[in-house]
Symmetry: C2
Subunit: 227 residues, 2 copies
């Protein structure tokens, strides 16, 4: 499958490496390819600069946001929450039209320090904002409630016995994402919540997530819905 | 122990019955005792009117908010979120001073229908508002993320293998609440988050909780933090 990944940070790299290793044709999209490739300083988590990562993953191509979106039969939004709408506009509505956009982004605002607050919450959500801005795209919110390492390998934690949430207005698209999350990464407990307004629920898990991260001192945890 | 429970709804009744059955001296507080006792219509969940419940639980006394607060060595706030601050003012700061107030309330606003939104969220919380309004009281937010039946008997669900969260500014008070939740009700996985600003995290679980309730069609579920 051709897959476009909008965003070249840790989440984008982790998803791209995993999907490329499964044999998919993966394009990572970024605002300015040459600027990204020219960076020599380590990433925010001490990870190597993007160009080093790209050299180790030659099957993954690095392109503009518009090219990566056009490449994908399915597209992931892993842009930082505050940059997501602008980045998606740069990707281009025509390159996203008719496609599933898996929205992994969270509207975290770190401008007042840690823990961050949400730049949109409660009576709206980033997932809904994106769906409104791209009405011809099937936005499916998913994977935004777990660390990147768990996204692509949930069995690293407790044999995968924990939960993920999917929501979006298009039921067929939701079902397809649930199927792909199982097939690609091994997610076995994916709860389909319903339409994209449910993104208010999943994005508002983040204030709890960041506090638990502070408390547990590891991002290797997840919510399980015991029922 | 003398326990005051502010709020006579389903949560108050469930906590009062459980704590009285453990031998504690429990006073349920309500705005207007005679009005509550005179009610003959069933409760919002089809439960019997309060007076019927009270007759079946003769060990529990029904008093004004101020009397119930004065009675308690420890006090529970189980008032509806939108009525909590006013109810606590009626209970009286002097009757709550120096005591642990277990704040179970959630700022759910149903004025626009279901699912509700939060009347305070993201950059503040009801728990913080209550702590600011009653600085001499040790507010400990707890139990607000589960259904009343689970609050008092977590082992009804998956043998009790799911999580609860406690936060508050006073560490000794937090520890005491963790201890009591285990001793009284059998909670074994209680995560102490830290100060009362963590109520932003636990209250913002509610938008997810109400959506899961709609999806799962039962309130007998809970979050477990798998780690």
């Amino acid at each position: 499958m051709n897959i476009g990944i909008l965003g070249a940070g840790m989440v984008g790299q982790t998803l791209a490496a995993s999907l490329a290793s499964l044999g998919h044709s993966v394009a990572v999209g970024t605002r300015n390819v040459s600027a990204l490739m020219a960076r020599t300083e380590p990433g925010p988590y001490g990870n190597p600069p993007y160009a080093s990562w790209a050299r180790e993953h030659p099957a993954v191509t690095t392109r503009t946001l518009a090219e990566a979106a056009a490449h994908g039969d399915i597209v992931f939004n892993v842009l930082a929450g505050g940059a997501a709408l602008e980045g998606l506009r740069a990707a281009g509505a025509q390159n996203l039209a008719g496609k599933i956009l898996v929205d992994v982004s969270n509207p975290l605002d770190f401008s007042k320090g840690f823990p961050p607050f949400l730049s949109v919450a409660n009576t709206d959500s980033l997932g809904e904002q994106i769906q409104r801005a791209f009405p011809a795209t099937k936005v499916v919110k998913a994977l935004n409630t777990v660390n990147a390492m768990l996204m692509v390998d949930p069995r690293q934690l407790n044999g995968g016995d924990h939960s993920l949430f999917v929501c979006g207005n298009d039921e067929v698209a939701r079902n397809e994402v649930v199927r792909l999350l199982g097939e690609w990464f091994g997610w076995s407990d994916v709860i389909e919540l319903g339409d994209i307004t449910n993104a208010r629920g999943t994005e508002q898990l983040l204030p709890m997530w960041v506090r638990l991260y502070g408390r547990l001192q590891t991002p290797m945890f997840n919510f399980k819905i015991v029922r």
